[in-house]
Point group: C2
Chain length 556, copies 2
């Protein structure tokens, strides 16, 4: 069997100008980055503002398991399938971060015969968006320390600086550091730390902005610190958001690439899915909706986190209305939810499946609460038995939910036509009446309670004294009327990663509440979230190489 | 009078494919980055390997003063002038670093009507080379700390780690830091510090490599630390140079842009001119020599540092033979060398000029020691008097050195024709018999003595006990047979920035000796060199902005 990188390297890519032409884009609409990547001008939105939007399809999944679900692969494969069916489809994906590529896992470009290419570029520097975010983030960070060094007229409390430096690298040594050593010339000593670039609030802002001026305003609204009297200090008080926007002038433009089958794919933005909302940019999705008749996009993690944030945060800020949601499940993952350990997943086990499928049932119920039509995609793996697949299909039928088998990993778009036909049927015949699950005008505690009860199925929420104090502070400064971004484990509907399937009769605990005031959401944390990964004992980097002829080794 | 950015923004740029066509490049030879920038394939070198090289002209200067000399402006203007004269000329420049743009000074793209464009891109992210260097540097740094964390089989002495992290930002708080706080999961505590990206050894390596495999080998040869027994530890012992080369796969390709008059300009690499050698990349210069009949390039700082390193380090590693050297001088700067303070430079003062001109005399003598034809360019400023200009001209005539007036700032290429004609005359009628000033097989002390006596005019060199110990250590490990990279003040021929003109009867002091074993040179430091700048009280960033229509404010 060929590896993902072998398949990707054998791809028959078309020149990016040809892909752009399929979308009726002219030479003035694009900026080439080599032969197979380009940036899309923001003018495209303005030029097409009176054009009717395409239909928006969100691909999400059950709670992830070690078995793997293949959400990105299904997203790419479905886009390819729709293309094969003669539809004008466009895929909208998140862009991967460079740092983790050198650690354990590779990027997020799909798999098998459903990948986006050129995968080595997409997974390395791509068009420089991550680097621009790093620069803008670190300019603000440098400006904060410089302000304090130069006299601190804002009276920033150096014990309460919220904004951290970032680097696109897995580097545990930078998690907790002390900066400013060496005396007067080097500024004031203080504790600090680096996060990985995708955890930067600038990334979340990029993905939730509707225009360059919106981006600039949001960057100015970042709550960077509190002053010595306990009042909030914002980035705009340092007069720095203009320079930050200048650094982001190209990063704000979506990137166009293609799939292995030359389907157009827009890849833009990729925030963390825990402390941020885990979706590609609003601008990219909006542009895709102007360029394609059907747009297939995805959200991070499982539906309880990814789809919830897509629907309650991204759609709210972007004025987007999804027309259909695809929930990806696999026989293996559902068996894992039903109690089967990772090394036994190749054995048929309908009983375990019938226990684990409750996770899927809950995700279906949740999407229905948003009044959006839903379809289940069974992402086929080699060892799945007919009986198991049939079990899932009949289970969905009983629930009155459409279901389709997807074999896009092995067969590309051809393997996604069954799913594509169901999706088209829903788009044509079922109406979406999307509405978010909570009102942003509600209190922070009410909003969190709604998510926990309605989506997770919890019986209640415990707020620690610490979290309560933080909520009170946000309320005091009128910073509480924002959507909620839950930072919870992705492995369970609860906040306990060990509780698989569909846990019942549980409470979740909110231990910390933070604000990303520029991005425009309040983060509720159920536990510690690692925002700077480390390298493993033998990093993937050790096997990587590039030969003089350009051949790349060890990437994936 | 128009500002540099106004002039740049009014430029009538040609599409970069048209500029490439002037150089007989095909679509396969280039990778577009937008409409006005492209990368040049390394295959161009191979395809043209039998083609005769063009002539190489180095532009250097007297020791810099606060008055400004305009070396980059003359370089760009001379290239434009040669083009106007019907020559196939190509300019080869260093690329500016993003970080300092937000501090006090802008980039290095020339000035007035002799600039390279698009200047806002060149001075921001450009084609991402700086970011690739940052990533490769920080991957190695993360790998070092990870190696120690994971068991430290190489027994790296964490007190003697030589390789630092970098960031392309002016951020004094990161000069001296402590990393690894927070307990076992975050690695071992140690002192560390960030440098600005251009100070990275990876930058020097990029600029001294002849190919991708050369780059990889040099990166593997970086001396990263000593072990607990005092033996050197190299990057290749961490198996990381392949991944680093992969990160550099696009950065190694030279960038093509144009001047305001559409003359082709290759901009690639820009190492520090003190702890590194301060020249654009060997690959870029070699490629320019294959594509143009006359290549105009520059080196950092004055001729005592910049030209010396260009000739003794870059030309040696690249097998390059310069055909002519242009020394830029200004009436104002020579008066400053003659004792006139900055605010009095507008007043004619031939006496001060006659004192200060000794600095120029010494730089001329120095270039002659390399057996390369030399010409003096008087870079005209508005307040220069006829009498002063005539004084310089007749002084040069007496020395038997060609001299020409340059007015390229105000008039573009047209203002450089007098200089262009002299340069062409030298290229056609005077032979260059270039040889370096020292042999690399000599001892470190002998090599430093040669540079100090022959180039600076010192009567001797004092080595501190610390420096002597470091030299002994390099000799012990046979690391001493490399060229020398002097890290000395740029403002004087001596190591005392206050000694203007042509100091005599002085000694220089070498306080520290370091090795950049990957780049391939030994750095001799005469004092502290700041490798991480800070932001001023009111950073240039505060005035910067970008409007929704794309208009950029405050950049320069």
């Amino acid at each position: 069997m060929k590896s993902d990188i072998q398949i990707a390297q054998e791809a028959n890519m078309e020149h990016i100008t040809k892909i752009a032409k399929k979308l009726n884009l002219t030479e003035d609409d694009i900026e080439q980055y080599g032969k197979y990547k380009c940036k899309l001008s923001l003018d495209i939105l303005e030029k097409n503002k009176d054009k009717k939007n395409g239909k928006l399809v969100l691909v999400t999944a059950i709670n992830p398991t070690p078995a793997g679900e293949g959400k990105s692969t299904v997203t790419v494969g479905l886009g390819q399938a729709l293309c094969k069916m003669g539809k004008n489809s466009v895929i909208a994906l998140r862009e991967p971060s460079l740092g983790p590529v050198f650690g354990i896992k590779g990027g997020a470009a799909g798999g098998g015969y459903s990948q986006v290419v050129p995968m080595e570029d997409i997974n390395l520097h791509f068009t420089g968006d991550m680097h621009a975010i790093t620069s803008a983030n670190n300019l603000l960070a440098a400006a904060i320390d410089n302000h304090i060094h130069q006299g601190n007229t804002l009276r920033i409390d150096s014990r309460r600086i919220l904004f951290k430096r970032v680097m696109d690298m897995n580097d545990r040594a930078l998690r907790n550091i002390v900066v400013g050593l060496g005396g007067k010339l080097n500024g004031f000593l203080r504790e600090d730390g680096f996060m990985i670039t995708v955890a930067s609030e600038i990334m979340a802002i990029l993905c939730l902005s509707n225009s360059l001026s919106d981006l600039k305003e949001r960057m100015g609204n970042i709550l960077i610190a509190y002053d010595l009297d306990g009042n909030p200090v914002y980035a705009k008080q340092l007069d720095i958001q203009g320079a930050m926007a200048l650094l982001m002038k190209d990063a704000i433009k979506p990137n166009l690439v293609q799939t292995l089958e030359n389907t157009p794919a827009i890849i833009h933005g990729g925030p963390f899915a825990n402390i941020a909302h885990g979706c590609n940019s609003i601008i990219a999705t909006k542009m895709a909706l102007k360029l394609g008749d059907i747009v297939v996009t995805e959200a991070g993690f499982g539906a309880d986190l990814g789809a919830e944030k897509f629907l309650d945060i991204k759609c709210r800020y972007g004025g987007l209305e999804p027309n259909c949601v695809v929930i990806v499940a696999t026989v293996r993952a559902l068996k894992n939810h039903g109690g089967v350990s990772k090394d036994m997943l190749n054995e048929p086990d309908v009983e375990a499946l019938s226990n684990g499928i409750e996770n899927l049932e809950k995700q279906i119920e949740n999407i229905k609460k948003y009044n959006v039509p839903v379809v289940v995609a069974i992402n086929k793996f080699v060892n799945d038995s007919e009986e198991e697949i049939e079990f899932i299909k009949s289970y969905c039928n009983k629930l009155g939910v459409k279901v389709a088998l997807s074999d896009v990993w092995a067969k590309g778009g051809e393997g996604g036509i069954e799913l594509g036909e169901v999706v088209c049927d829903l788009l044509e015949n079922e109406e979406s009446n999307f509405k978010p699950i909570y009102e942003i005008e509600s209190s922070i505690e009410d909003k969190i309670n709604t998510i926990a009860k309605e989506i997770y199925g919890a019986k209640g929420v415990i707020f620690t004294p610490n979290a309560k104090k933080q909520i009170e502070e946000l309320e005091k400064f009128n910073l509480d009327k924002l959507p909620i971004c839950m930072a919870k484990t992705q492995y369970s509907l609860s906040d306990n990663p060990m509780l698989k399937g569909r846990p019942r009769d549980f409470e979740i605990t909110v231990r910390e509440v933070r604000i990303s005031n520029g991005a425009g959401f309040i983060v509720a944390l159920n536990g510690d979230i690692m925002t700077m990964p480390g390298l493993p004992k033998v990093p993937a980097a050790n096997k990587m190489d590039i030969l003089d002829g350009g051949e790349i080794l060890g990437l994936f």
